[in-house]
Amino acid sequence: MTVATMNAPPIAFVTVCRLTDIPVLGARVLERAEAAGGNVAVFRAAGDRVFAVRDRCPHKGGPLSQGIVFGERVACPLHNWTVDLGSGCAASPDEGCVKTYVVRVEQGMVAVALDDGDA
C-alpha cells in the first residue's frame, strides 16, 4: 500500500468551504454533475471530524447529506439505513458501500481529494 501511494501522483485536494460553514452534526453538499462523479456530501461530526462521501445511499440512492448525523454515522433520510462515514459502508445486516473521499482540514478550511477515478 505504502509503496503504491508513493509512486502514484500526489492526491489533489480541492478546497470546498470553511469548517464553520458546516453545521456540527450536519452536512453540506458539493454539487457535481453526475458525469463528473455526482454530488459529494461533506459531514462534520462531533470533535470537528470531517468526512466526505458520495451523496447517494447504497440502498436507493437517497441523499445522505440530508440525514441525521450521530457518532460518525449518518441515517439515510429515505429509509433509515445507517452508513458509516469513515468506511462508507452500511451497518449490518444491510449491505452496501458508498464511495468515500479523503478530507483534509487545515487552518479552518476543508479540502476534499476529488479524484477523477469515477469521472
Binding site: R28, V29, E31, K60, G61, I68
Partner: protein
C-alpha cells in the same frame, strides 16, 4: 491483522456450547470483536444448535442439520477455538485455569459459565436401566428416534411441556405411548384444569394414553436386561421398551459449586450476570437472578446482551428480569399461556369455553389490567395478550371486546389477513417492503431469528409502517414457540439508553433539563450524541416541556423539519402552503400557478387534507418558492398540526347546521405552528353527515343543531381507528378550549411518534375526560399553556432567522478555485 494477532489478548473461556453461551459470544463479537481470545467447551459433539426445535426433529418435521445455529466454519471464521465432546471437569479459581476431561488445562482471564440444566431423574428402582433416557439434547433425541424403529411401547413420565412434546413425537413415529403424570391435569404449571382437559382429549384423539395422578414406583427390567415395564403405585404395570423421564430440569451448578461459587437454586449472579467471583460470569438456565431461574430462551437472550456488554468492558446495561410466555410445539394443537393465569382472591376472570369447536380462552385481570391468559384452540391473539400483560396497559375500556382479540391487526397492506398461519407462502405479509410469508419464515429458520427486531433487520418486514407487526409476531411464535419474544419488562427509547420514554419525560420535567445534552448527561446516555431515534425525541421533549426556554436543535430533527419541506424519493422536496380550513382565493391560486411555472414544478396535486401539494421542488429553490407563494407554511412536513379539514357548512349547504368552515379556520389559526409527538390532523363537519370525515381524525368536530360534538383519537392511516366521543359543547369558544386542552395534554404526556389513538389507548379515555372535560380549571390551564407555547412562534418560511432555519443548507458548495 498481523499487528492484532501479535498482541496478547485476554483469554475468555466459555463453558457450555449452547444457545445462551454462544448468543453471548455473538453479542460480544458485535461490539468488541478483537477483545478476547475465545475458547468454547461443549460436552456434546455438535456445534451450537437450536434446542427449542428438538421436538420438531423428534416428530420428523425437521432434521438435526436444520437446527444448527452456528456451523463449525462460523467458529473458525471468528477465530474461536471450539472443543466439542469435551467436558469441563474443574474451574481452578486460584490458578485461573479450566480443566477438561481430555486432560487439557486452559488458563483464563474471564470465564463464562453457560452450563444449562440437568434433566431430573426420578430416584426409583430401575432408573439406571438401558432404555431409560431423559429428553434434553440431540443424543437423547437420536436415542428416541432409534428406539422407535425397534420397539413398540413407550412410557413418558411427566405430562409437562417437554414430556408431551416427546410423547407426541414418539407417537408420530409409530410407537404406542402412555404418559404418566403425577398431577391431576396436564401441564399444570402452564394451564388451568379446563384447558388441561381439552389438551388431554385432543392428544387422546391422536392415540396417546394417559395415567393422571399416577406415581411411578419402579422401572422393571425385561428379559433382555433392557427396561420392560413401568410399575405404578396402584400396582398397574405398563409395558415399556423405552422410558422417557421428563419430570423437570435443575440448573446445572455442579462446576460452580465445586469451584466454591455461591449458588442457590442456580449460580447466583447480579444484574450484570457476574458471579461472586468477579472474573466469572454465568448466564442462561444455570443462573439464579434475583431469586428467579429461567428455562426459556427469550430471557437468556436478554441476559446475553447485558453480559456481553460487561465482558466487553463497556459496563453499561443491567438485566432486570423477564416476563415469560409458553407455547406447546405440537403441530396441530394450539396452546398458549402467559403471566399469572391461575388468579387469586383479588383477580377477575373472563372465560370463553366452546368444547364443541375445541376453543377455550381465559383472561385473568387485576385492577383493570391483564395479568395472565390461557388460550387453547385459537392462539392467534397470544402475542397481543402477552404484550398487554407486559406493558401493564389499562384495559378497562376494551374489556368488553378483549376476549375477541385484536380485531384487525391492520386493515391495509395485507389483504385484511389477521391469521398468518393460514396464509400461503407467497402471500405478502409486509406491504411496505414487499416481504412474503415464505421469506420471513425462511429467515427465522435459517438465520435463527428470535425477536421482532431481528426479523425487521434481516427481512425489513414490519420495519416501515408496522401494520403487519402482529402477523410477524405470529410467524415468530409459530416457528420458535412462545419463546420468540425478547421480553424486557420495559422498552427503552433506543439502544443508546435503558430509559423509557416515560422515564425520560419525567426526568426532563423534574430536573428542569432544557437541552438534549443535559438530558443525555443526566440520564447517562451511552452514546456521545445519541442516534437518529433518540435525538428527535429528546428535542421534542425539552421543547414541549420548556417552551420559550429550551432552544431548538435543528440537527436533531428529521430532514423534513430541518428543511421545512417533504423530501421525496429523488431528493427533491414538496411544498404545501397553508390554506386555512381548506379555503383559498383567486390571488393565492394565481401565485401558486406562477410559482409552478417559474420553478418548473412537475406535479401539482390536491392532498387528502384539502391542500395543494407542489412536488419536485429543488432544495435550493425552497426559500424563493416560499417567498413567491407568500402563503404561510403548511407544516405538512412536521410532527405538528397539519390541517383542519372542513365541509362547507351552514353558509352554503342546505343540510348544514353549523358554520364548520369558520370553526375550522379559527381552530387552524389557533393551533398552527403547534409541534406534537406526531402529526395532528383535525376536521370540522357542519352536520352529522360528516363530509369532512371527522370520525377518523386526531380531533374531529361535528356540528349538530344544539352545538358541537368533539371526538378524539381517530386515525385514517395504517389502521383505521374511529375517534371516540369526548364531549358535547355549545359554543365555538368551548370547542377551541376543549380541543386545545386535549392537544396540550397529548403534547405534555404523549411519547414521541405516538399518535393520539395510541396515546389515548395507553392512558385511557377516562384519564383524558378527567383532565379535559371534568376539571374545568385544569382544562383552562392546559389551554393557556398551549397558547403560551404558541405565542410568538415564528413561521419558518417567512421568519427563518427567528425559526432558527439554517439557510446555509439551501446553498450547495462549489469548488473554490
Amino acid at each position: 491483522m498481523n499487528a492484532r494477532a501479535t498482541l496478547p489478548r485476554p483469554r475468555l473461556v466459555i463453558v457450555g456450547n449452547g444457545m445462551a453461551g454462544i448468543r453471548t459470544v455473538e453479542e460480544l463479537l458485535k461490539i468488541a470483536p478483537d477483545r478476547y481470545e475465545i475458547t468454547v467447551f461443549g460436552a456434546e459433539p455438535h456445534p451450537n444448535y437450536n434446542r427449542i426445535l428438538l421436538s420438531p426433529v423428534l416428530a420428523g418435521e425437521q432434521t438435526v442439520a436444520d437446527i444448527v445455529l452456528n456451523s463449525r466454519e462460523w467458529y473458525a471464521d471468528n477465530g474461536i477455538a471450539l472443543r466439542t465432546a469435551t467436558r469441563v471437569t474443574r474451574v481452578d479459581r486460584v490458578r485461573r485455569a479450566v480443566e477438561a476431561d481430555d486432560g487439557s488445562v486452559t488458563p483464563y482471564e474471564r470465564v463464562l459459565l453457560a452450563t444449562g440444566s440437568h434433566p431430573f431423574i426420578l430416584p426409583v428402582p430401575g432408573a439406571d436401566l438401558p432404555g431409560v433416557i431423559t429428553y434434553r439434547d440431540i443424543a437423547d433425541t437420536e436415542a428416541m428416534i432409534d428406539a422407535t424403529a425397534k420397539y413398540a411401547n413407550a412410557v413418558v413420565i411427566g405430562g409437562g411441556l417437554l414430556g408431551l412434546e416427546a410423547a407426541n413425537g414418539l407417537a408420530r413415529r409409530g410407537m404406542k405411548v402412555t404418559v404418566v403424570h403425577l398431577m391431576p391435569w396436564l401441564m399444570e404449571r402452564q394451564l388451568d384444569r379446563t384447558a388441561g382437559g381439552l389438551l388431554q382429549r385432543s392428544l387422546e384423539a391422536r392415540g396417546l394414553a394417559f395415567r393422571l395422578e399416577a406415581k411411578t414406583e419402579a422401572l422393571v427390567a425385561g428379559e433382555s436386561g433392557r427396561v420392560g415395564a413401568v410399575r405404578l403405585a396402584g400396582g398397574e404395570t405398563l409395558p415399556a421398551d423405552l422410558v422417557v423421564m421428563a419430570v423437570g430440569i435443575r440448573p446445572n451448578v455442579d462446576l460452580a459449586k465445586a469451584a466454591g461459587l455461591h449458588c442457590e437454586r442456580g449460580i447466583v449472579v447480579n444484574d450484570t450476570l457476574q458471579t461472586y467471583d468477579p472474573r466469572i460470569y454465568a448466564i442462561g438456565e444455570c443462573v439464579a437472578h434475583r431469586g428467579q431461574v429461567y428455562g426459556l430462551v427469550a430471557p437468556l437472550f436478554e441476559m446475553a446482551k447485558v453480559c456481553a456488554n460487561h465482558l466487553a468492558g463497556y459496563g453499561i446495561g443491567r438485566y432486570a428480569g423477564s416476563q415469560v410466555s409458553t407455547k406447546l410445539k405440537v403441530t396441530g394443537i394450539d396452546l398458549f399461556s402467559a403471566g399469572d393465569f391461575t388468579g387469586g382472591a383479588d383477580t377477575e376472570e373472563i372465560v370463553l369455553s366452546d368444547p364443541g369447536t375445541g376453543v377455550y380462552k381465559k383472561l385473568v385481570l387485576k385492577d383493570d389490567r391483564l395479568i395472565g391468559s390461557v388460550l387453547y384452540g385459537d392462539t392467534v391473539d397470544g402475542a397481543w395478550y402477552y404484550s398487554l400483560v407486559r406493558e401493564r396497559r389499562n384495559v378497562a375500556e376494551i374489556r368488553d371486546r378483549l376476549m375477541f382479540g385484536e380485531a384487525h391487526l391492520g386493515d391495509t397492506g395485507h389483504q385484511g389477513q389477521s391469521r398468518a398461519l393460514t396464509m400461503a407462502d407467497d402471500a405478502e405479509v409486509c406491504g411496505c417492503n414487499g416481504v412474503c410469508k415464505g421469506t420471513i419464515v425462511r429467515a427465522i429458520k435459517d438465520k435463527g431469528l428470535f425477536t421482532l427486531d431481528d426479523v425487521r433487520k434481516h427481512t425489513k418486514a414490519s420495519s416501515s409502517c408496522g401494520s403487519c407487526t402482529g402477523l410477524v409476531e405470529q410467524l415468530l411464535m409459530a416457528a420458535a414457540g412462545g419463546d420468540y419474544s425478547a421480553a424486557p419488562k420495559t422498552k427503552p427509547i433506543c439502544g443508546c439508553t435503558d430509559r423509557t420514554h416515560q422515564e425520560t419525560r419525567d426526568a426532563i420535567r423534574r430536573e428542569k433539563l432544557q437541552s438534549i445534552a443535559a438530558t443525555m448527561h443526566f440520564l447517562e446516555w451511552r452514546t456521545p450524541n445519541g442516534c437518529a431515534t433518540c435525538r428527535p425525541a429528546l428535542n421534542y421533549y425539552v421543547l414541549s416541556t420548556w417552551p420559550h426556554e429550551a432552544v431548538d436543535d435543528p440537527q436533531s430533527r428529521f430532514i423534513n423539519e430541518r428543511a421545512h419541506a417533504n423530501i421525496q424519493k429523488d431528493g427533491t422536496f414538496s411544498v404545501i402552503p397553508r390554506m386555512w380550513g381548506g379555503e383559498t382565493t383567486a390571488p393565492e391560486l394565481r401565485r401558486i400557478a406562477d410559482v409552478v411555472d417559474k420553478y418548473g414544478i412537475r406535479t401539482v396535486k390536491v392532498t387528502g387534507g384539502q391542500r395543494i401539494d407542489l412536488l419536485g421542488v429543488k432544495k435550493e429553490d425552497l426559500p424563493a418558492v416560499w417567498k413567491d407563494l407568500d402563503m404561510p407554511s403548511g407544516h405538512a412536513y412536521a410532527k405538528a398540526l397539519r390541517t383542519v379539514k372542513t365541509c362547507v357548512g351552514s353558509e352554503w349547504c342546505r343540510f348544514g347546521t353549523q358554520d364548520s368552515t369558520a370553526m375550522g379556520k379559527s381552530l387552524e389559526r389557533a393551533l398552527w405552528r403547534m409541534y406534537a409527538p406526531h402529526k395532528v390532523k383535525l376536521a370540522v363537519s357542519g352536520c352529522p353527515r360528516n363530509c369532512a370525515e371527522s370520525g377518523i381524525k386526531d380531533v374531529g368536530v361535528i356540528g349538530v343543531e344544539s352545538g358541537w360534538e368533539i371526538y378524539v383519537g381517530g386515525n385514517g392511516g395504517i389502521k383505521t381507528e374511529v375517534a371516540q366521543f369526548l364531549v358535547k359543547v355549545k359554543t365555538s369558544d368551548e370547542v377551541l378550549e376543549h380541543a386545545g386542552a386535549f392537544l396540550q395534554l397529548y403534547r405534555e404526556e404523549g411519547w414521541y411518534l405516538e399518535r393520539t389513538v395510541h396515546y389515548v389507548g395507553r392512558v385511557g379515555l377516562e384519564h383524558v375526560k378527567r383532565k379535559v372535560v371534568e376539571d374545568a380549571e385544569g382544562r383552562r390551564a392546559l389551554w393557556e399553556r398551549l397558547q403560551f407555547a404558541l405565542d410568538g412562534e415564528p413561521d419558518p418560511w417567512h421568519e427563518p432567522e427567528r425559526a432558527k432555519v439554517d439557510l446555509r443548507q439551501f446553498a450547495p458548495l462549489a469548488v473554490v478555485p
